[in-house]
Amino acid sequence: MPVGSDAAAFASTVSSQLSARYGSLISTIADTTATTVGGFDNTTLFSKKLQMPKLKGGIYFYNTTIPSGGNTVYKYNTLVNTRSPTSYFFLPTLAAETIINNLGSNIKIEVTNYPLPRTYQQLQINNTISGFFASFIFSLALAFKFASIMAFIVKEREDRSKHQQIVSGMKLSAYWTANFVYDYILYLIVAVISVALCSALGISSFTSGNAYAGVWLLFIFYGLAYISFTYILAFAFKDHGNAQAGFYFLTFIVGGMLPILTFLLRILGSGSNPIGRGLAWFLRIYPAFSFGEGLMNIGSVSLYGTA
């Protein structure tokens, strides 16, 4: 630094200088026990951090200087608490100021932090993460809606109420159409609220440009396609409780988990990419997968573009 032979005196001087310059804005703790930067990190700073959750970090001054041509290089390490976004420039500035002032000057370095906006690539990564989670959560939430539809259809058959209506003269086309219209209207309420929430919460990957129309189309046609599919699968169940639980689980796996799997296969590498693409073409036969994959694709379209 040179810290000199009396490290304790140096630490005390630096501490009092900083207190005089910055007052109560910063508080410093001088410690001279550590003789290596590793020791300073593991013992001194670590124990201090446990006591002070808001600790910005620590500066380790070396007791040697490095001659470089006609100049002298003073060496120090800053150990930054990464949870504090200002520590990265605050601690090195403080260290430089301390060194210069100990050489006889009296200066104060002022730093202005004005971060640049996020880059296009950073924004795309954010959008992808939003799309990823939104797709998963919507698939999870809407699975409950279709499971409840399934339960009613199976229960009507279980209780023979469907049979009673048929023997009373009701046409099957009327039965299915009436059920379909009723279920779709109820679904639309949920769908409109879901898309409105995307807008209200500012999920830009779903609401900007063509993506918004795409999200609307996905929600509209998901209901149309999956309600019919639910009616068909209802024939496979005999108990409405099992039907509800089983169908919910199926929708969750195919609509929530498999789109993530195909997405990962696509972006992992050139070897797995064709497998992911091929799997997606096949799995889209299941409407819940189409919906989940569509939302995920809209959210991350710029990330994997033509992948």
Partner: protein, 40 residues
């Protein structure tokens, strides 16, 4: 093209296909001679 539109196109086609399939399945279950294939 594939990424953004394929799932939507699939859903549009499935809307009609599954509704039609529902009536086909229901018709087959109601059809006595078809159901006789599964009973002795």
């Amino acid at each position: 093209m594939e990424i953004s539109l394929a799932p939507i196109i699939y859903l549009v086609v499935e809307t009609f296909a599954y509704f039609l399939l529902l009536f086909i399945v229901e018709y087959l279950f109601m059809n006595e001679s078809f159901m006789r294939c599964f009973t002795s």
